[in-house]
């Protein structure tokens, strides 16, 4: 019945809200699973919410050497993270109205803008470790860009369009699409990209503050108070966004709402968060299997991801695969 339908704009708002509110939950689940795998009890699942609330109640300390950029950075990043869920298939199989305002490249740009503003504000603070983290993050971000581009090329070659919705529809259409080599290797490459971008082993340790190895974590060392809360929230949202792209575009684009009914939308929300938690558990598992790579070996890792992405494009050209 019509009253049970959510308007498309409503669905889009729910998309943003899901990412906004569900991201810390996913983060909490991952931390708990990591703890359990290491034989501890692990922090409680809702801990990230408490942490963010705590940050918002603290005062902000700003160093004398920094300027307005330092304060604006976290806000810019957060608003970018709020924008990207509008463009990607979070809950639905059909494209939503605002979803046409940007394709997958646009989403990539906005995510890059977010990372850039955080790095800029970190570097701007003048503190050595924050600058260290910012420069490392920018370097590795630049190195991973070709991989992301080739993944996007592979997607575009398969579906003749840039919209992420189209790829997930194509993947759902038949088994042969799931096992075609371009798709498999593009998915594997994107998996590695997510690993690098969310700062997990073997690129960076998520827990602890070992300065020699910190990349993403170090950028936020100088922030405090609500800005830090926004940054922490933003990083969990980034994680969920990347997981969403990986799941709903490449790996398992099922359980999405195909109509606008309330029931299917709610089902889609649950499915998304469930799948994200499963994926997070996989990453936690990888955390425990491998050790962190030394910094100069991260380029090898990135080269492997690049290799997978290039192979997925090449095999498309050669065999139509």
């Amino acid at each position: 019945m019509d009253s049970l339908n959510v308007s498309p704009y409503g669905v889009q708002a729910i998309q943003v809200l899901t990412v906004l509110l569900g991201a810390p939950l996913v983060s909490g689940v991952i931390a708990q699973v990591e703890g359990r795998l290491q034989g501890r009890r692990g922090p409680r699942i809702l801990q990230p919410y408490y942490d963010i609330a705590k940050y918002f109640s603290k005062e902000t300390l700003v160093s004398n050497d920094s300027s307005w950029v330092f304060l604006v950075g976290p806000i810019v990043a957060f608003s970018c993270y709020l924008t990207v869920p509008l463009l990607i298939p979070v809950l639905t199989t059909f494209p939503l109205p605002l979803g046409f305002s940007g394709d997958i490249l646009g989403g990539g740009f906005i995510l890059a803008l977010a990372g850039f503003s955080v790095a800029l504000s970190g570097a701007e603070s003048g503190a050595p470790y924050a600058q260290l983290g910012s420069s490392r993050a920018m370097t590795f971000g630049a190195l991973i860009e070709p991989t992301i581009l080739f993944v996007i090329f592979a997607v575009a070659l398969i579906t003749h369009t840039d919209l992420p919705y189209a790829l997930s529809a194509t993947i759902r259409s038949s088994t042969s699409q799931m096992v075609r080599p371009s798709h498999v290797f593009a998915a594997a490459a994107f998996f590695l990209v997510v690993l690098v971008d969310t700062g997990r082993i073997p690129v960076e340790t998520h827990s602890g503050t070992l300065e020699f190895g910190m990349i993403d974590e170090a950028r936020t060392l100088e922030h405090s108070g609500p800005a830090l809360g926004l940054l922490k929230w933003g990083s969990t949202m980034k994680q969920l966004i990347l997981y969403t792209i990986l799941i709903n575009v490449f790996l398992a684009p099922w359980g999405l709402a195909s109509t606008g009914k309330w029931s299917s939308v709610l089902l889609a929300v649950t499915a998304l968060l469930g799948k994200a938690m499963l994926l997070g558990m996989v990453f936690a598992f990888i955390d425990n299997l491998f050790s962190k790579l030394r910094l100069f070996k991260i380029t090898e890792f990135i080269a492997s991801a690049f290799l997978l992405a290039v192979l997925s494009v090449l095999v498309f050209y050669v065999g139509g695969g």
Binding site: V179, E300, G319, G320
Partner: protein, 219 residues
């Protein structure tokens, strides 16, 4: 349009063989290179079994089991025994860093892809991309041999080149008479034995497995 499921799975398996080849460029320890070779041979055997099962070619089962025994069990154990006797485990340092080697190998592999792709080979057993992939495997094996400077890495590069040629034969010569395939396999075994003998001679003479001072004979 997308290739069929069979074609897709077969191409993924062939690409996995190619990926293992790239992984050998990175492996720092000789023992891990041997393990990678065993894994690669296993994937090739898996591909042969998949083709045999899907296309109902019974001879390929025999070939697959024979190559499983030979290339996954016997050859790696022979090399591991040599490594144990020689008591070295590190690969000789490669001429270039890992990332540069991967990039060079990628360019070479792309060249192989397009060179073979222009031939318009069509096969009833495996998709055309598999032939291009096998050519890329052969070329990347060459890169591995050129960039590495110890006898075991070079020998493993040669064996993995044979794996690439096996994939090619699965694509275009699926129904090659079984006796010929068996002759090829036993020839490979003999070659492995001789490689082992000469590696031992080298090690006995020079107390090292490295080829970096192989410059005595010049001009």
């Amino acid at each position: 349009m997308a290739p069929s499921t069979y074609d897709g799975v077969a191409a993924v398996l062939a690409l996995l063989v190619l990926l293992t080849e790239f992984a050998m460029l990175r492996a720092p320890l000789l023992r891990s290179q041997v393990r990678l070779y065993a894994f690669q041979s296993f994937v090739v055997t898996g591909l042969a079994t998949y083709v045999a099962a899907s296309k109902h070619i019974d001879e390929l089962y025999a070939l697959a089991s024979l190559s499983l025994v030979l290339k996954v069990v016997i050859v790696p154990s022979l090399i591991v025994r040599l490594l144990r006797d020689a008591d070295t485990d590190l690969a000789g340092s490669s001429v270039l860093g890992v990332a540069s080697s991967i990039l060079i190998a990628l360019v070479v592999a792309a060249f192989g892809f397009f060179a073979v792709g222009s031939l318009h080979v069509s096969s009833s057993s495996l998709p055309t991309s598999s032939l291009a992939i096998s050519c890329a495997i052969v070329l990347v094996a060459f890169v591995l041999i050129i960039l590495r400077s110890d006898v075991v890495s070079q020998a493993i590069g040669f064996f993995s080149l044979e794996n690439g040629v096996s994939v090619a034969s699965l694509v275009v010569a699926t129904r090659l008479p079984l006796i010929v395939d068996i002759a090829f396999l036993f020839d490979l075994l003999v070659a492995v034995v001789v490689f082992g003998v000469i590696m031992r001679v080298h090690h006995a003479r020079n107390a090292t497995l490295s080829t970096s001072d192989f410059d005595r004979l010049r001009g």
